[in-house]
Subunit: 523 residues, 2 copies
Amino acid sequence: MVRNVLFIMADQLRWDYLGCAGHPRLRTPNIDALAARGVRFTQAFVQGPVCGASRMSTYTGRYVSSHGSMWNFVPLSVGQKTLGAHLRPHGVRCAVVGKTHVEADLEGARRLALNTAKGEGLLAMEGGFEPFERDDGIWPPGFKVEGNRYCDYLRARGHGGDNPWHEHANSALGDDGELLSGWEMRWAGRPARVPAQDSETPYMTRRAMDFIAEQGERPWVLHLSYIKPHWPYVAPAPYHAMYGADDVLPAQRSEAEREDEHPVVQGFRQTEPSRSFSREEVRSTVIPTYMGLITQIDDELGRLFDFLRERGLDRETLIVFTSDHGDYLGDHWLGEKELFHDTIVKVPLIVVDPRAEADATRGTVCDELVESIDLVPTFLDALGLPGAPEWLEGRSLQPLLHGQAEAAPREAVFSENSYAFRDEVRLPSGQPVDACQMTMVRTRRWKYIDYQGLPPQLFDLAQDPGELEDLGRSEAHAGVRAEMAARLFAWLRARKRFPTIRHEDIEQWNRREVKAGIQIGHW
Amino acid sequence: MVRNVLFIMADQLRWDYLGCAGHPRLRTPNIDALAARGVRFTQAFVQGPVCGASRMSTYTGRYVSSHGSMWNFVPLSVGQKTLGAHLRPHGVRCAVVGKTHVEADLEGARRLALNTAKGEGLLAMEGGFEPFERDDGIWPPGFKVEGNRYCDYLRARGHGGDNPWHEHANSALGDDGELLSGWEMRWAGRPARVPAQDSETPYMTRRAMDFIAEQGERPWVLHLSYIKPHWPYVAPAPYHAMYGADDVLPAQRSEAEREDEHPVVQGFRQTEPSRSFSREEVRSTVIPTYMGLITQIDDELGRLFDFLRERGLDRETLIVFTSDHGDYLGDHWLGEKELFHDTIVKVPLIVVDPRAEADATRGTVCDELVESIDLVPTFLDALGLPGAPEWLEGRSLQPLLHGQAEAAPREAVFSENSYAFRDEVRLPSGQPVDACQMTMVRTRRWKYIDYQGLPPQLFDLAQDPGELEDLGRSEAHAGVRAEMAARLFAWLRARKRFPTIRHEDIEQWNRREVKAGIQIGHW
């Protein structure tokens, strides 16, 4: 029986930066052991290539076009229904420790005069997660942080100041004792100014244990959401020096790619992260620290899994490990994220189902196309709760976890973003802010990216798995593009735009009307 | 200056059932005089061919796919922003007298723990209209009506009983004093059991006057929303006998049309209203009463316009007269509504702008394609209030009212419906309830109707203005269909799915980020 769900997310963790996913240098023994106890999905895709949009899809079980939070810091409408709202009426506590990137819909709250300080109003502002320890991190230099529990913890541990997150946990010290800000990537090789136990990953892991201990026998869904290995790329000792330049794999890119004419890709190549990560010096400095941060997460997960085992909770808890998107790290001459190469939109996904029905699949990999919107339906299914097909656009992974063949395997995955927020990209494109949508349709063979008012991109993943040759304007591929555009249309038309009525209420309508005595057109 | 908006809607009033629209027998002198003072739009289309979906579009300024209330009785999400919500922060009172067909999103209200008994919670349940006299009518026989002001009024006037709406205002008496229910169309020629002054249209008109008098000098937007000439087709004397069978125009239909193979149209032809209205006996009995109800509205509007003039309010009030959709009345062998013939989706629309800038267009007709979603932007524009381009999908009619040429006239109008609620249509189609969407794209020349999983329909309005020949499967028209499908796709992709962030906030984003000290990818 599944009573609880431990839903772990790392931020900006690439699909290929795990030992079990084949990285030849990176050590992630605890995550690898998790994969050995469950199913590792090799073709799992997020619905948006930035934190906010991706997470809102994961938390609502809906595509970005359906929940409307199209990018970071775009409020999640009070009209949307989240994982927590699906769970809570059934007595399942749903909380977060760490980052959600949910932006409160304050305008919606004002319109409805919600009390956002408590109860349902607060939950609506938190994307449905009880903020047991909500912490999105990212406090810029000079910002005086108040009311943040982790910063208060750092102060109590002697790491004081206005912004201990920045000045201690995410900065280093220079040879003369000067502050070397983690916002400058050149210092990525230096250790953080805090001991490992005071850094974010162990702190959040302990808070997750606090929650689980507090909850006792009552059922829970906990979203443990690590801020790392997301930038600032700063790791505490010993993780800062665990890997070196020799451990860095070559960037996945070609010179020919640089000639790519697509204006949006070109625009992103002009941004500072892309220019920085196109330099080997940056890669060989930053990537070892990125790897160290991953191994630190792995170590902490080892502790957490021990904690569950000691309490027998591993036998009744569904465990999920995933990420919200990847990190270019110089692949394709790009830094950060925002576009649709597999580097970004393919993510690690491991699911351990404790039930006997899942024994046959333990330690296997699953190559079916799956999406992060599948998680909410999977959680509801595992907990024995009703689905909500009027809202949920994903599909439960349970058949795959239980080794059952799917009647109709998914043929394509979808991911969306907008470049409206990036002046370097939007201004040269000449597009208005509400016509900067990018939509990826990816089958096993083809990846098609539609841009409003601009040419599409197309990649042949069979011939060109590295996605180095854009066939978006190749005459020979006009037919493929038309077929992919048709898929996009069919998908767009099928979005769940009408979630305020249940399917069974629609089916009952005729009978309800007759029963009520309404006789339209009766002579 | 425009201080107020009087937004009048009739229910189920066809575009061609007005004297000024060319009906040779129907008398509507007051509405005709209104048209002489303003602009009459000859190509105005509603966004849905049923009350609920159409009205939610009119009240939100958004297409059905964007507001999500796809049919009657589908709740309007608490996440949507309505006319009233756009007005209220600017101190403009927004109220309704009569019908809105807004279905409260009670599930959303529970999720947010809204107090729906008052304040913003109540307004959210009322589609943003203060319910000065909300009354959707339609009380089935046997229903005991309590707490309805109009029914209480009828009782106070001596028209008592459990359901005086049905038993008096919408029924007649037989020769032996027996009740002849208005739900049975055979009695349409009999007078209602109430004198004209106690019927719905005059009552609601007086309530509108009450509101306007109460409001005094303070600005207002009043939605005066008549329930008639919507069924039950019952009129009080003398309107019940004002027109006769000789005044009934022939049905717009052909025998060939009956051979139409389209399964959805076929399904609707099997419904009781279609079967009834295909009979001449029904048409010649019902249509005179339908016409009488329209002349009654016209008489009452004459009183209301006098009331405004006496108070000088006509000089500062924008007046709109429109409808939510038509009524087949046997055209195309159909009854009721739900499909996309111009009989249904084209509506009357008259706008009187009191400002001098509109003097040049008074008494003119405008043949531009306009939509009912244009009304909210028109109201905001007239009142000098900011638009909300992140929400509103229509465009202000003000340039047309002021005789200014539009930079880019609208090329197509759109209307949507679902046949999921109609067993007679859905069950034979084999489609699941969430794949029954119908979408009309109509240019000046072509009308294309897309059905999920079924063949489309196509009409050539230049060659076949009566819409009698479906070219949906004509080989010669494959190119036209492809072009119309491409329009549909472009439209679908351009829907405003991201309304929780303002466009100017997107434009400012890069600068905000830099200003906050966030330096991503800096070496």
